[in-house]
């Protein structure tokens, strides 16, 4: 459990109302990890969401012959991990800290029942996650355009 005021300082939780704020605070803890820590592993159970306060996390995947390839760098004020919201509750990608990282970890098994039991609370949370997904999808689509490529 952490103080609600701490949650409200993070961009993802800003302006969040009760009772969701209280539920999240009751399911969260402050964490820190040294650089090069594997936070998520593809195919493993998705158990939590990290709201980064300081530092950077690389979301990516291990590619044969290339090693870990970063797809997106996630930074302070952003979140890592939403696979815990959707069956089969497994991580789709790996995530590794690229610097020392501190943040707020929200435990899925604790928060999920609140989201399921109260549709209004669930919707509020999913709307916030959807905005993050929209931004990441937007980023991925623009990169698919290969904007900087030679298109002569």
């Amino acid at each position: 459990m952490i103080d609600e005021s701490l949650l409200l300082k993070h961009r993802f939780f800003r302006d969040i109302g009760e009772p969701l704020l209280g539920y999240i605070a009751g399911c969260a803890e402050q964490v820190s990890y040294p650089a090069d820590t594997q936070l998520l592993a593809q195919g493993q159970p998705a158990h939590s969401m990290l709201a980064i306060e300081h530092g950077k996390v690389g979301v990516g995947i291990h590619v044969p012959q290339r090693g870990f390839v970063t797809i997106e760098t996630v930074q302070a004020g952003e979140i890592v991990g939403w696979s815990w919201l959707f069956p089969p509750y497994e991580w789709s990608f790996d995530a590794i800290t690229t610097t020392d990282v501190s943040g707020i970890l929200v435990h899925a098994q604790c928060i999920r029942p609140h989201l399921n039991d109260d549709p209004a609370v669930g919707l509020e949370f999913v709307e916030r996650i959807s905005k993050v997904m929209q931004d990441r999808l937007h980023s991925a689509r623009l990169r698919l355009l290969d904007m900087y490529g030679d298109h002569e």
């Binding site: 990516g60 970063t70 997106e72 760098t73 623009l142 904007m147 900087y148």
Partner: protein, 280 residues
């Protein structure tokens, strides 16, 4: 009439220059320094361009990547077409013809006293490099300065050593992101607009200068507008098929504007309504 004809002839006649250096920046980009064989061209300013003529092949408009301080001229060129490929292949001692300088450049001095955000995509860093030089030379004249650089990969960032010096020099904040991870890259991966989200803007008079692929500029400008930038404080440098450089031939016409004379640097009030129009 005779005077106009003489002026026109002069502006259309390349002034021969000798290549004195060719420094490779990336796999397809090189910085060339030229010196005139006789009298040089008038000195260009930030954001202006010269037409560079590769003998027997053609001309290409290329922005200054360093504002001339003596009679030498510095251009950074990406080899994407027949003319630019020929220019990038030039060796010291070989010759080109230059016409210019042409166009409206960055109104950098109007930004004095304000925060500045520079956004460069790929080779778009070249026309912004003289702006960085001006800011660093007169650092006390400007408030917070942030340079955001986006590139396809880390191997596609020009002026890498210089960028590293800017980054470690502490006089401006440099944020770099690449679209694709590659070996030995420890920096950020993601679209350039992601980095803009992380730039704190608190000066209502902040000025943004953007150079990069047109699609990048559209999204960057929209984001800057959403974060409170005034449209006339958002400046972009446009690229069209410049030929004469004098606003006469019409090849670079964009709506009612000629990019070679009304641009290449334009504010978003003028460029915004035109940039997204198909077939313009």
């Amino acid at each position: 009439m005779a005077i106009m004809s003489e002026t026109l002839t002069s502006a259309m006649t390349p002034v021969m220059h000798r290549v004195i250096s060719n420094v490779s920046e990336t796999a397809d980009t090189a910085t060339l320094t030229f010196e005139p064989l006789n009298d040089g061209l008038p000195k260009g300013e930030w954001g202006q361009f010269n037409m560079i003529w590769a003998e027997g092949i053609g001309e290409a408009p290329i922005s200054f990547s360093r504002v001339p301080v003596d009679n030498t001229v510095v251009h950074t060129i990406r080899a994407v077409g027949s003319v630019t490929k020929a220019l990038c292949a030039l060796r010291p001692g070989e010759y080109v013809g230059l016409r210019g300088p042409f166009g409206a450049g960055w109104p950098i001095q109007a930004a004095r006293g304000h925060d500045i955000v520079l956004v460069a995509g790929g080779i778009g860093l070249a026309p912004l490099r003289p702006v960085v030089h001006e800011i660093l030379e007169n650092r006390e004249d400007y408030d917070k300065v942030t340079l955001v650089i986006g590139a396809r990969t880390a191997h596609d960032i020009p002026f890498l050593d210089e960028v590293h010096r800017w980054r470690t020099g502490g006089l401006l904040k440099v944020r770099i992101t690449v679209d694709q991870d590659c070996s030995h890259w420890n920096g950020n991966v993601g679209i350039v607009t992601n980095e803009l989200h992380r730039v704190v803007i608190d000066d209502p008079g902040s000025v943004a200068m953007i150079c990069g692929p047109e699609i990048m500029m559209r999204f960057v400008c929209k984001q800057l507008e959403d974060s409170g930038f005034a449209r006339d404080n958002i400046l972009v440098t446009m690229e069209r098929n410049m030929r004469c450089g004098l606003g006469l031939c019409g090849h670079c016409q964009l709506g009612a504007k000629f990019i070679c004379t009304d641009g290449p640097v334009m504010n978003w009030v003028d460029a915004g309504p035109l940039i997204g129009v198909r077939e313009l």
